[in-house]
């Protein structure tokens, strides 16, 4: 295994969601904090792709913004490995909505040239023109498209432009926050193929954020599943899909609509994601978990590593694995 490109340890981010000062004083309300990201640790392998998956409000986009420095962490560290030039890896970000992330009043040429000009990466205007043309070609557009405005492009082409802009500074690390969820499936396939090709050709490392399990499976080497600000399970892609351990991961995999193998008459689990303002005690998944007991409500499970390389935060999994390690034939209960 290569050295990780990014190591994140015990990262947390709180947001102050208190009422205004005067209201707090008059109504005697305490300060309120939202724990968007709660003590998470992970590392992204160099040249690989780690995906963060989870439902809305689980904190995955907050992690993306923490990693790119758009938010400062409340506690915890992030450490980028040293890149080719001896400095820490440069990170860039691709945003979800290609309609909102490009300035509608700028020509595409200027959008892509801005980082080059701002960071003085090219000395002359002629070199900038060459580089922008090269970037547009890399993402499958023509250099002459630089003269157009963003509104002249379709959603997929706009996302190509924002990839070109992200690549302008020659980053070695790309944070992709739901890069295809605003796109149609046939266009999504074009963008995912482009991102895979760039990874092979330029050796990019991706931190990929998505709620779509099938997209994540296609893109990533490692997957971390988040629930209410915490990582509940992290494993290699094939391990996670072959044997999901955490009950939440099992629920997620169970509920994805599957085109090739539709589950038309499944039993649907009830329950919804609780408000992150008042997360449940202990394991935050316990109110929805079919295997929860008193310990899950009281005690927060820690991440534990298992010998297939996965890390899981669940009391039940820990107990089952401990029982399996000591070969006792009597009471072996495996979750179905």
């Amino acid at each position: 295994m290569t050295t990780p490109a990014l190591t994140v340890t015990h990262l947390s981010r709180l947001f102050n969601v208190s009422a205004p000062w005067l209201n707090r004083v008059i109504e005697r309300k305490p300060k309120a904090y939202l724990r968007a990201v709660d003590d998470i640790s992970f590392s992204v392998p160099s040249g690989g792709c780690l995906s963060l998956v989870g439902e809305s409000g689980c904190g995955k986009s907050t992690v993306a913004r923490l990693v790119t420095g758009l938010y400062a962490p409340t506690t915890g560290q992030m450490q980028f490995a040293l890149g080719k030039n001896g400095k820490p890896l440069a990170a860039q970000m691709i945003f979800q909505d290609p309609y909102a992330s490009l300035n509608p009043r700028w020509r595409v040429f200027d959008i892509i040239a801005e980082p080059l000009r701002e960071l003085k990466l090219r000395a002359s205007e002629a070199e900038i023109t060459d580089r922008v043309g090269e970037l547009l070609t890399i993402v499958g557009l023509a250099p002459r498209d630089g003269r157009k405005f963003p509104h002249e492009f379709s959603g997929g082409q706009r996302q190509r432009i924002s990839i070109a802009r992200a690549l302008a500074t020659e980053p070695e690390f790309l944070v992709c926050d739901e890069p295809t969820s605003a796109l149609d499936v046939s266009v999504q396939a074009q963008i995912l193929n482009l991102m895979r090709r760039l990874q092979d050709e330029i050796g990019l490392t991706y931190l990929f954020i998505s709620h779509d399990m099938s997209v994540v499976r296609h893109m990533s080497d490692q997957i971390a599943v988040m629930y209410l600000g915490r990582i509940v399970e992290q494993a290699a892609t094939e391990v996670l899909f072959a044997s999901p351990k955490h009950p939440y991961t099992q629920l997620l995999l169970e509920t994805i609509p599957n085109v090739t193998d539709p589950k038309r008459d499944r039993e649907v689990q009830s329950g919804e994601v609780p408000s992150p303002m008042k997360p449940p005690s202990g394991c935050t998944f316990h109110p929805r978990c079919p295997q929860a007991d008193a310990r899950c409500a009281a005690e927060r499970p820690e991440m534990q590593a298992y010998n297939d390389g996965s890390r899981v935060a669940c009391h039940r999994v820990a107990e089952t694995m401990a029982a399996l390690a000591v070969p006792q034939v009597g009471e072996r209960r495996l979750s179905a």
């Binding site: 499936v185 396939a189 038309r264």
Partner: protein
Amino acid sequence: MTKTPMLDVRALRVEFPGRHGSVTALADISLTIQPGEILGVVGESGAGKSMTGLAVQGLLEPPGHVAGGEVWLNGRRIDQLSDREMEKVRGREIGAIFQDPLTSLNPLFSVGKQLIETIRLHLPMSRSEARIRAIELLAEVGIPGPEIRVDHFPHQFSGGMRQRVVIALALAARPKLIIADEPTTALDVSIQAQITSLLRRLCKDNGTAVMLVTHDMGVIAETADRVAVMYAGRLVEIGPVADVIDRPSHPYTRGLMGSIPTLGARVPRLQQIDGAMPRLDAIPQGCAFNPRCPQVMPRCRLERPHLQPSGAGQSACWLNQPAQESAA
């Protein structure tokens, strides 16, 4: 199949007049839905799938209008009804579920008030009877504690619960047809599964016909009985869901299926359809898909194919129609 279909759309055509002549948004749409059947309508953005649902309900934004074809609901023609008559059909006979559950509810009224208003508009009931009915409806769509929840406001419900309220509203007058436009798109996957199985259950229990409009093939595969695939305002393929997914006969459907990342085997590269769907004012001559089609033939650039039986369903492609009926 001798039964009258609940919804029968025949050669529907929708046009939007513009400065440079009128734009054809929907052309030659023919489909039927039987009672108790879920028809999935799938396609990319701009393919005209929502427009089909709106046209059936008579909710096209002017200047858009039905320029041809017929819409029959349970043996009665409804596309020629006046606005006032159509108002009675909507809600009473056709229920609608929209994508965003927050904007389809009024934030200023409790869900009970909104339900009671809808019920009394369509059914002859007193306020107290309607309230009992509202509570029954909330229970039917799986909202726990309906007696208490009926007095809550939309913001007190989560996204999935709000969508259940919207479904309850659509069901209020026991419509024969429900048009659900992307009902699960705004929801998380674990909630999405709850809503689709609810739709299936209601459809089977009440014999309601459902038109399920979505871009998500997975939702279609798990919910619909038959599926209609749309491209650039036209139907390219329609058939039983298993056939369309496993043995798509139109090249566009094949490309669409290949471009979906699956949970099964991991492939190094997804199949992609190059290019993008044409704008409605620039639909090429012949088959609308011909510039992107990997199997394009000279005939595709000249003549427009029509839906013809192919396998268990129908598809509009010259590949599946041998030269038997050559146009003179």
